[in-house]
């Protein structure tokens, strides 16, 4: 007798194998021979290789909720990871915030940049005043201020504490000075340099001095700071991934038995990975949410020195709080980092867990 007509696995497996549809006749014979199997009429055909879409969505939903529940069921343990993640996120966020706040101040400084014209010692006051008048009518120039030697001396005495030295001299050695303030739309370093060259050509002007070096340096420092913040953010992102990856490794280890059973009864890698990926996601999200109050407190603490700094430069200045877009971006980024960290971890460690 030929009982080998019953080949359910062949039919079944050929469907699991990329959907090739050979041997349809086998499927029929399966149904027949399996009809006695339990009272139900359901047979092999109800088991398909690819997870039905609904079931796939369901498992995502289940994994998402279940992994969060698991984290909340061991609050202290989870809190430790969340805190570490939060700290790793707060650091670059805080630097970004400081940077964001210093930038307008530095722009303010830039606005203060002026060109000092040291006048020939022999020049007549009337000629100097004419020059002042003419310069102030230039399109690039906002204001031109005249500082007489007497005023300069007074100021010098006031600020240097060397007043007596000067007073002991018979003649005031200081020259007339015109300070030129460029208009707001004409004070980039390049424009100021051009203006300086132009003013240097004036007959009455001995030296036109633009103290650009410190401005350049400030700009370079700002660029550097930007890079430091960026690379720190990158490094700490990798750190967050590794921390979460390691926590996931421990979670995998503690669910080893379950993983073995799932593999034994035909769970795919995707099915096994899913809850761990969501766990990583929640570690990221939780860390970011925890970072927010820490950031807020740090902001308040930073606000007073920054405001003082701003006050010194006479700018109307209010602390810019980290804005909602940045917050949303940070939370999402943290979730993605957690997911990635979990993915790396689970891909590495799942291979080593096999039924024995």
């Amino acid at each position: 007798m030929n009982r080998r007509v019953n080949k359910p696995s062949a039919a079944q497996l050929s469907r699991t194998n990329g959907g090739s549809t050979k041997k349809p006749s086998n499927k029929k014979s399966v149904n027949k021979s399996q009809s006695a199997w339990f009272s139900s009429s359901v047979s092999f055909s109800s088991l398909v290789s690819a997870l039905p879409f609904n079931a796939w969505v369901d498992h995502h939903r289940f994994s998402c909720v279940d992994s969060l529940k698991r984290l909340l069921s061991t609050p202290w343990q989870s809190m430790m990871t969340w805190l570490v993640v939060a700290i790793a996120l707060v650091l670059p966020a805080l630097l970004y915030l400081a940077f964001d706040n210093i930038r307008p101040v530095s722009e303010q400084w830039q606005n203060d940049t002026q060109i000092s014209l040291y006048i020939q010692p022999k020049a007549q006051l009337i000629a100097i005043e004419k020059l002042q008048q003419r310069l102030s009518e230039l399109a690039e120039v906002d204001t031109v201020e005249l500082i007489t030697p007497a005023m300069a001396q007074q100021e010098f005495q006031q600020y240097s504490g060397l007043g007596n030295v000067l007073a002991s001299l018979n003649n005031n050695p200081l020259p007339y000075v015109l300070t030129v303030q460029a208009t707001a739309s004409n004070n980039t370093p390049e424009q100021l340099t051009a203006l300086q060259a132009q003013l240097q050509n004036e007959v009455l002007v001995e030296t036109a001095q633009l103290d650009m070096n410190w401005l350049r340096r400030l700009q370079e420092i700002m660029h550097l700071a930007q890079r430091v913040v960026l690379s720190l953010a990158l490094l700490l992102s990798v750190g967050v991934m590794l921390i979460i990856g390691n926590t996931i490794r421990l979670a995998i280890e503690s669910r080893r038995n379950e993983i073995v059973v799932i593999k034994m009864v035909g769970g795919t890698d995707g099915f096994i990975k899913r809850p761990f990926l969501y766990t990583g996601f929640w570690y990221g999200i939780g860390g970011a949410l925890l970072a927010l109050p820490i950031l807020f407190i740090a902001e308040l603490w930073l606000s007073s020195p920054i405001q003082q700094l701003a006050f010194q430069y006479e700018s109307e200045y209010t602390l810019s709080l980290i804005d909602l877009n940045v917050v949303a971006l940070m939370v999402m980024l943290a979730g993605v980092l957690g997911w990635l960290g979990a993915w790396l971890s689970v891909s590495r460690h799942l291979k080593h867990i096999e039924p024995e």
């Binding site: 359910p8 696995s9 079944q12 497996l13 199997w37 088991l47 035909g266």
Partner: protein, 227 residues
């Protein structure tokens, strides 16, 4: 249904666990796999489950050559094969129902259908009344039966068992064997590895015997009926 063609298995340490094994088990057949401890019984079952791969020769399940089953296809193969171990490997963080439902969840079956199937499987092993209990609250024999319910819940064509009665006293062992026989009578191909010769003799079924990795007998008594 299960066919071994000159199959050898050498573990990476260089130990030959199976040497030139040949046999065929027809669909709907029930057989025992016996031999001393270390004879290669578990290894043979692992080759069928693709927990291990053969070093030489071919293993065929339902005309499918296992060498050609890729890593990503293994889960789908395993869904066709129920397996029962000496230790039932139950998960203690969930109740009996959820333990048995696991293979159905993995296959993505609807919750309603899962309920029907799980209860059918539990009824078959006589544990319908315990569906809400923790496996921890069950006796050893009951735990083993939950393991069997989980192995058969998605109606596999093949049921493998590795020392399923190893931890049980003779009366419970007889119960479990009766269960395998019942399953076989509804068309499941059953292969049971055990070194309990007394039990095997009681059952009057085909016997495959391994000795040092070689198959010394595949029961001439039944030979004519299956080839």
């Amino acid at each position: 249904m299960i066919r071994f063609d000159n199959v050898s298995k050498r573990y990476s340490e260089g130990h030959d666990a199976l040497v030139n094994v040949n046999f065929e088990l027809a669909a709907g057949e029930m057989a025992f796999l016996t031999g001393h401890s270390g004879a290669g019984k578990s290894t043979l079952l692992k080759l069928i489950m693709l927990i291990e791969r053969s070093s030489r020769g071919q293993v065929l399940i339902g005309n499918r050559v296992l060498d050609q089953v890729t890593r990503s296809q293994i889960p789908y193969l395993r869904r066709q094969i129920g397996v029962v171990f000496q230790n039932p490997h139950l998960l203690f963080d969930r109740n009996v129902f959820d333990n048995v439902a696991l293979p159905l969840q993995i296959a993505g079956m609807s919750t309603r259908e899962q309920g029907r199937r799980v209860r059918a499987a539990l009824e078959r092993v006589g544990l319908l009344s315990k569906e809400n209990d923790s496996p921890l609250a069950l006796s050893g024999g009951e735990q083993q039966r939950v393991g069997i319910a989980r192995a058969i819940v998605n109606k596999p064509a093949i049921l493998l068992a590795d020392e399923p009665t190893g931890n049980l006293d003779p009366a419970l062992s007889a119960d479990i064997m009766q269960l395998f026989q019942d399953l076989n009578s509804v068309g499941v191909t059953v292969l049971i590895a055990t070194h309990d010769i007394a039990l095997v003799e009681q059952m009057q079924r085909r016997v495959l015997t391994l000795d040092q990795g070689r198959m010394t007998s595949s029961d001439a008594l039944a030979e004519g009926a299956y080839t």
